[in-house]
Amino acid sequence: MLIDVVSSVARNLVPIGLIVALLIFAEMAIRGRTLRSLRTQLSIFVLVWIAAELPRSLIVIGFIRASEDLRTFGLVAHTISMVLFGVVLVLQFYKVPIGGSHLLEAIDDSLNELLGKSAAKAVKFYVEPSIATTNITEYSRSLRKIFLDGGKLLETRIAVKLYEKLGLQFTEKPGYGLVQYVQEAQTKRMA
């Protein structure tokens, strides 16, 4: 029957898919610098998940053999990673508003004002604002990838808010983005 053939092909392709996913998320985990970011948490979940899923899928296709104890261990590890995944999703979505630095507050205010609270929450879900405090270039690049042309407008709004909070005079400059405005603000504050 067709379903038998499709099921058999699918079963054999799962280990290959898991290895591809492992490579993608391992690279994301390496690039993520903070445990608080979605990418790092997701990557950890995926790595734990694959650690349990890959041996299971190889056992299913008969590529390797395993004792009952090892299979039970794999199942428990898989269950823990699944629960972890669910918790990560819900916590990332419902976590408390950001704060603690002028830049983070400026980002939070600007996202809420320009996008509304729901969309702002979604953006913060995928791009952890705390990245901006450690790597403003990376955060700016993510905003431009997500919003394309609108990213520039959002960056300018964040810069305006940041300057307000720092008590600095803001002047829009051609060719400037969030990176340049933040660097300028730092220079002005030190002067």
Binding site: V14, L18, I24, H78, M82, L89, K121, A122, Y126, I146
Partner: protein, 87 residues
């Protein structure tokens, strides 16, 4: 008594299916295409993987194998799209 495989199957299914509607709610209210697509892929992965666990509990391994592959493909697509449009 219920065996550990059944208990784990139920926990696995619920722990990934339950967050699905939460993220779907998020996706429906967002007009930003990249964020919406990411959310749909994430929900797709979590719900399909939950259904995969339920299919084995319901003694439907043939469908389960297909759902397993579909969930892995959705996870790969999510990872690639996240790298392309966010990182």
């Amino acid at each position: 008594l219920v065996d550990i495989f059944t208990v784990a199957g139920v926990i696995n299914a619920l722990s990934v299916i339950i967050p699905g509607p939460i993220v779907l709610y998020l996706a429906n209210r967002v007009k930003i295409p990249s964020i919406r697509n990411l959310s749909i892929l994430l929900v797709g992965f979590s719900v399909v993987h939950g259904l995969y666990h339920l299919s084995f509990l319901a003694s439907l391994p043939l469908i389960g194998n297909v759902l397993d592959l579909v969930s892995v493909i959705m996870l790969i697509l999510f990872g690639l799209y996240y790298r392309w449009r966010v990182l």
